[in-house]
């Protein structure tokens, strides 16, 4: 299990005067650790160990872990195996749409160091260069017991407020973005405005902006409204537009 070193900063504007604040924080952390909605992005082969972990044999729901179907609703993003470069783009898009606090779990050795795809030209080797990974579960592939053990470990870390990879993503966005640009090219952009979010929620750090975010701003194209097509009786008909 890898520890992420996060530069420690003095918290600004966080003086809490309410005597009940501690109790409240404790309650919130407890609830967060006991209720985790997971989005399993089933890349690679590790996904096959999730159904037994969820169904009657091991039953994740007794730990409060529930599968969810959209990134907006989810708390944990499970990456279950090797990520090809094309998939990684989707994974990052998905991650940025999730609401914080959010956690990433890398299941399988392939997410740790490339595993048996080390020599492949098309897979990303280390997931934590592109996303803040809170927990790795190694193994090719890990058994459901190991997955559950990992989940329990994550619960402990949420409980003690150590699992803050999501803050790291805001604070060192420039570094993550640099790695992403290295892989996807200079014109890589996502619809989510990470810098704007970081400053709005007071999560920005010294590494939020830098040379890579400047490059992003140079190459950024405004998002176009997407046109939707419905196929009606063989002919492709245009049916209005979706904005935002």
């Amino acid at each position: 299990m890898k520890e992420i070193d996060i530069p420690i900063e003095a918290s600004v504007g966080q003086s809490r005067t309410n005597p009940l604040a501690r109790v409240f924080d404790e309650l919130v952390r407890f609830c967060r650790s006991r209720s985790m909605f997971m989005l399993h992005y089933c890349t690679g082969c590790g996904a096959i160990e999730l159904p037994p972990a969820m169904t009657s044999r091991f039953d994740m729901e007794r730990l409060g872990i529930q599968p969810m179907v959209t990134p907006r609703q989810a708390d944990i993003l499970l990456i279950t195996g090797y990520v090809s470069i094309k998939t990684l783009k989707r994974v990052i898009l998905t991650y940025e749409q999730m609401g914080s606090p959010k956690y990433v779990i890398g299941i399988c050795s392939c997410t740790v160091n490339g595993g048996m795809y080390w020599q492949s030209y098309a897979t990303a080797k280390q997931l934590d260069q592109y996303l803040p990974v809170d927990l790795y579960i190694a193994g090719c592939m890990p058994r459901p017991e190991a997955v559950l053990e990992g989940m329990r470990k994550l619960m402990d870390r949420i409980r003690s407020d150590e699992a803050d990879g999501w803050k790291d993503y805001y604070r060192r966005y420039d570094w993550y973005l640099g790695n992403q640009q290295h892989l996807f090219g200079d014109d890589w952009q996502t619809p989510a405005d990470v810098i704007g979010e970081a400053s709005h929620y007071d999560l920005a750090g010294p590494g939020t902006e830098g040379e890579h975010t400047r490059l992003l701003q140079q190459c950024q194209k405004p998002l176009e409204p997407q046109q939707t097509f419905f196929q009606i009786g063989g002919s492709l008909e245009k049916k209005g537009e979706f904005h935002e």
Binding site: F30, D59, R72
Partner: protein
């Protein structure tokens, strides 16, 4: 009734509804788990979920219509709770009556439609279109049932309806005197709670939970609260119309939980119908049974 008692009841009734609703959600998830031979979630799981969702740090709002939609969805049910008499508390039930209650129960769906419309997510739009269609489907038998009950008891006042049933003992219950309407009501209940086979607008594997697709953090928390109210409202309404309301809290809660357990148990036996299949089924069997029941009642 003094103004203080009234105010206290108006606050207490939604609160009680919320707490009972939390346990109903727990019961539904436990039933699901037992049927699949799992252990199921711990006792306080619904509460953990809601606290967790409300404590999310970042929220994604899609505009103020999105915000108001959620408020309407929860507010509609909060208003409905004050119109539902429970043992010891009548609230404003005898002033509102059954018709107002039926209107109030439609507000949440409309609020959701407004809110989801602004998310501009195709899955959400499909989901809400299906939700309104299914409302159209189950409302026909539902209105027939409500009309039949009101006709039989000669009043649309829920307090009176309950009092008449309780005066007659078990033999005076709506389910005994109007069995056909009670059966049609069960169909409508299944559709109202959106359980399989009528789960067309949630459909996680098909349209990614439909109306909930763009809801994150507090928005989803609002919908979880709404679900508690929805289960409670549907259960209590059915108990008030057909099972003689509550003589005391113990019998009342037993009846309400038993009624809500029926749709969940049935749900696991069925796959999901298509929209047009649901409408066809809803407008055929429950309507036919309901009309037959109505004919007996009016005869």
């Amino acid at each position: 009734m003094s103004i203080q008692t009234l105010l206290m009841e108006l606050v207490l009734m939604p609160l009680v509804a919320f707490v009972v609703g939390l346990f109903m959600v727990l019961m539904l998830r436990r039933i699901g788990a037992k049927l699949q031979r799992r252990v199921g979630p711990p006792m306080m799981q619904p509460l953990y979920d809601i606290v967790k969702l409300y404590s999310k740090k970042t929220q994604i709002s899609h505009g103020w219509m999105h915000d108001i939609g959620i408020i309407m969805a929860v507010g509609g049910y909060v208003a409905a709770e004050t119109l539902l008499p429970v043992p010891g508390m009548d609230g404003i039930a005898d002033k509102g009556g059954l018709v107002t209650l039926v209107y109030m129960m439609m507000v949440p769906s409309l609020g959701l439609a407004l809110g989801v419309g602004q998310c501009a997510n195709p899955n959400g739009s499909i989901g809400i279109a299906r939700a309104l269609t299914s409302m159209l489907a189950y409302d026909v038998p539902f209105v027939i049932v409500v009309f039949g009950v009101a006709w039989y008891f000669g009043t649309t006042n829920l307090v009176d309806i309950i009092a008449i049933q309780q005066a007659g003992g078990v033999a005076g219950w709506g389910a005994i005197t109007m069995p056909l309407l009670a059966i049609a009501g069960l169909f409508a209940l299944q559709g109202m709670l959106g359980k399989q086979p009528f789960e067309i607008y949630i459909a996680p594997a098909e349209i990614a939970t439909g109306p909930m697709v763009e809801m994150s953090g507090k928005y989803l928390g609002g919908l979880f609260v709404m679900q508690c109210f929805q289960l409670y409202t549907a259960g209590v309404l059915y108990v008030s119309l057909f099972l003689g309301g509550g003589e005391n809290w113990l019998f009342f809660l037993i009846k309400v939980f038993a009624v809500v357990a029926i749709p969940m148990t049935v749900a696991f036996l069925f796959p999901r119908y298509k929209t047009e299949q649901m409408i066809r089924l809803m407008w055929k069997w429950p309507v036919m049974i309901g009309l037959l029941g109505l004919a007996f009642v009016m005869h």
